[in-house]
Symmetry: none
Subunit: 129 residues, 4 copies
């Protein structure tokens, strides 16, 4: 309870190009710089799910850590992430159910200006070794 | 209301290796075949967020379509996706708020056996052209 | 002194293809399955420097950890790594020079059969925070 | 004896992002531009092992050439490589043991300003055809 962990990465154009290629999400907001310049955010932005995936990195490698199984994740996208922004994903344990081996966590991502870009909640299971 | 769309892709070992590389999520469940064989799912599985990202592909390229802005996404991971599985992500419009330009959708993913692997709900905004 | 850390990853065909692409090392031993079948190891093998790079992962993310600066690395390649092998890179602190902020480590990699595939020594510097 | 060969490549942000992804080396010095700006080198630098891998490219494709087997490599990292730097890896034969089919080489890498960024020695075996 109260334990926290984080993971930080700069979201580069390379990341966005590759994420589009992996997922097939070629929304022009991410891969068409001309359309994006005329669009809502005035420039290409990273896929929300790319940023959100850094939460999975925290859960699966740091807290609860290796072996963690994802049960659910809620995500609210509160601000755009631009190419070149540096995102920190964070998790904080809010509830532990030892009988069911479940861990609930508050999860959120901030950019380099400490602005929250994603917030939500995760539920995980930690299998017995 | 009631409109549906889908996107289908086979999740290969390459996808999982690249997704780990983009996100830093090197949870052994995804990238260590020896540990995964001894683990909960008995083999490497795809990152849940990789599969979930196919929902973003539906929203951002088909329904509501190009230009869509993601406001929120709920995700429940209900079954594992193994390397080589073919996933179909689907979305169905459940609510349209024309004044706020918001579209709510039921979203879910199935594997090639029609088993639901992810279910949840998305809220999107569709900017005026 | 005596602290240890490790990192494990299955070396997939994807990894070898991408490593060849990043480095330009198109030695047929790695990317020509026909030539490799007739060659010394009877099948494609991973680049030695790909396996060796997992040592850098241990040093730069676990021990000494984030911020570590690499000063030197010795490498002896003692056995081949085949596509699909699971490699564990390990490091053990053997000497600490607090005045110069230097840490010396024994470093080695094993495959899933505990066979040593690389051994050598690293010297690192840990900048003051 | 005395033969030389080289290989030159610009180290891009893409190379560094992909190398981090292949190896799992997410040391912030490489993938967090905010932390790197505050760190020892004042900007993101390439992984030392990425630059060092260009030596393997020379050995495995040019001198001794295709089919070469790596026996050992010593590496001293003498200066940082920044994103956008152009690195030339070089090898010069210093010893040939025809009976054992072994070739020893001096190996080093320079940046576009002729500054040595890596130096060391390689020992290779050249199988009979």
């Amino acid at each position: 309870m109260g334990d926290t962990a984080s993971f930080t990465k700069t979201i580069t154009e390379t990341d966005v190009v590759l994420f589009a290629g992996l997922t097939g999400d070629f929304n022009p907001a991410h891969i068409d710089s001309e359309a994006a310049a005329r669009g809502f955010f005035r420039a290409r932005v990273a896929h929300g799910m790319l940023t959100a995936s850094l939460i999975s990195t925290v859960l699966g490698t740091r807290l609860p850590g290796p072996g963690t199984i994802y049960l659910s994740q809620g995500l609210r996208f509160t601000a755009p992430v631009y190419l070149g922004d540096t995102v920190t994903a964070r998790a904080e344990v809010t509830e532990v159910d030892e009988a069911k081996r479940r861990v609930r966590l508050r999860t959120w991502c901030t950019n380099q200006h400490e602005k929250v870009v994603i917030e939500g909640e995760a539920l995980t299971m930690v299998p017995s070794p």
